[in-house]
Assembly symmetry: C2
Homo-oligomer: 102 residues x 2
DNA sequence: TAAATAGTCAAGCGACTATTTAACTATTTG
DNA sequence: CAAATAGTTAAATAGTCGCTTGACTATTTA
């Protein structure tokens, strides 16, 4: 989980790189979880488009999907997000934890 | 600076969404600053390709360029980065600072 | 001023992406 | 089982992106 390649991290950022998808993620950051229909409603997009973006976010590991009955619920994977962010945002880590570069 | 649109934030993530560019950024996160030639050397890419990616990173506000004589130096803009990250990474903010959604 | 160093820019290619539409699958309820 | 709700998927279109090549600009040094 903390062993993510640079390609994997780039894929997480790619998942956040589209305004529509970023809106979904920022929406989710304010709620614990939301079902697909509510996300689509609040984001003002079709279910088909949500499903497409949902897959991108899910494949990248940004969100986790959970089926409960007829509905599927979506929540952010904060741990995965932070492990990608920490590489480019050194404030949160200690310099000795860095991988040596030369 | 803290007033960034969702498109602007998405643009920052887009700048981080390519493995080559993310490598440049992660390289810079371990140094205070580097000149173009050294970045290209350490990343193993051509100057032309660096220049292309440098522009993307610079336009998105991820890095700041500074000319000193013949060389140009590159450093991360940590403030801009954190202002994009904080929207999707609520750990660092207090819930009452969030914009109301309904 | 000529040569060397440092970086930019435009064109072109192939690969990928966002969106819509419409048909399809899965789960619950009457 | 039939109908309704919730979500998926494929196809098609239009646009974007990463990389290479080769020519161009800017700054320093001889």
């Amino acid at each position: 989980m903390s062993k993510m390649s640079v390609e994997g991290r780039a894929r997480m950022f790619a998942a956040l790189s589209d305004p529509t998808r970023l809106r979904l993620v920022e929406l989710l950051s304010e709620e614990d979880e939301l079902c697909g229909t509510h996300i689509a409603e609040r984001a003002g997009i079709s279910m088909a488009l949500l499903s497409h973006h949902w897959k991108v976010l899910s494949d990248a590991g940004v969100v986790v999907k959970e089926r409960r009955g007829q509905r599927q619920y979506c929540r952010l994977d904060h741990e995965a997000l932070s492990s990608a962010f920490e590489y480019v945002w050194p404030q949160r880590r200690i310099r000795s934890q860095l991988a040596p570069t030369h």
